[in-house]
Amino acid sequence: MGMAAAESQFHVLAVDDSSLDRKLIERLLQKSSCQVTTVDSGYKALEFLGLGQGIESNDPNALSTSPQEVEVNLIITDYCMPGMTGYDLLKIVKESSAFKNIPVVIMSSENVPARISRCLEEGAEEFFLKPVRPADLNKLKPHMMKTKLKHQKLEEIEEPLNVVAAAASVEPEIKDPTEVGIKILTLQSELEPKQVHLQVVQQEEQTLSNNKRKSMEEGLSTDRSRPRFECITTAV
């Protein structure tokens, strides 16, 4: 990937109660050039997003970060966690007006078709079986690009001249499909910036729906005869 400035790096919020798995997902995401914040529970994830204040307003340890201060481009969460499961977190995020557009990815060590389809139906973009591999993370880029470009659209409408100037000096070189979005911006410098962004967002939405279908097919083509494992919430 390799986005240059720190401001344009994707920021992923990773949620897992296992410190080992947190370390693993953090390294995987860093290798993918993402900025990572890890938390060990759904509650801490909501606090970080700024939703925590409503739920645990009496908690003196609650983070006081306001939603606007921290931009999160993707949430990746374990399914099986004590207290609030990944599915519970997914529901809360998707039902919140402020954060429903943040893509959410679920990870699980259990291959349970009913669980997978339930998560996808609730709005999860992808469902990864653990252990997560670098190839899985490649599927995330289109989803993160969507929220990233929306933010960039707001910034760049204010400064259209910068886009034109950049296009004049950049040599278009498409290395992989996920960078197409950025390249279109530089190639079509003659168009109004607003038109360019609309086209890019449409492209990303097309890729997004393709990926979603693919992951559903992958998720459902599993062995249905295996016994279902109910997520055991550990008593802490």
């Binding site: 252990p131 670098p134 550990t234």
Partner: protein, 156 residues
């Protein structure tokens, strides 16, 4: 000096391959090694350290849950087994993971003897792996001290 490095490197290669062949490690361990680089030079050692800490903690939980003089709460045992299975899967500890699968079945069947047997085996197995990996890391250190580089070992 070069002859020593070459000899150590060969020893290291053979040892690593044997760990995979004997089923101690699977391809997830290979993935862990790929994640180690100059930015994160001790990544594998750090992750394994977390794994062995998990083993000690979770096996302790299982032992306590199985040591009830009254009725054993098999779901409590199973919860710890589930976590250990996850951790072992994440690091590529193949034998430990395999044992956890069997262990989980005994928990679900409320089979006390089966659980106790699995607990003993999982304890032996994680300690055996710990020793093997320590030997592997020691070989890496020796190679570096002799002025050589630790080779990337291709399994298969």
């Amino acid at each position: 000096m070069d002859a020593l490095v070459a000899q150590l490197q060969m020893q290291y290669r053979n040892y690593t391959v044997s760990l995979y062949q004997q089923g101690f490690l699977d391809d997830q361990f290979t993935e862990l090694k790929k994640l180690q680089d100059d930015a994160s030079p001790d990544f594998v050692a750090e992750v394994l350290s977390l794994f062995f800490e998990d083993c000690v903690k979770l096996i302790g939980n299982m032992a306590r849950a199985l040591d009830q003089t009254g009725t054993v709460d098999f779901s409590q045992v199973g919860a710890s087994v589930h976590q250990l299975k996850g951790s072992s899967s994440s690091v590529g500890a193949k034998r430990v993971k395999g044992l956890c699968i069997t262990f989980k079945e005994y928990c679900e069947a409320n089979n006390y003897e089966g659980c106790v047997r699995c607990l003993q085996q999982v304890d032996i197995e994680f300690k055996a792996l710990q020793t093997k990996l320590q030997d592997m890391f020691n070989l890496e250190k020796q190679i570096i001290q002799a002025g050589g580089k630790v080779p990337q070992v291709d399994i298969n």
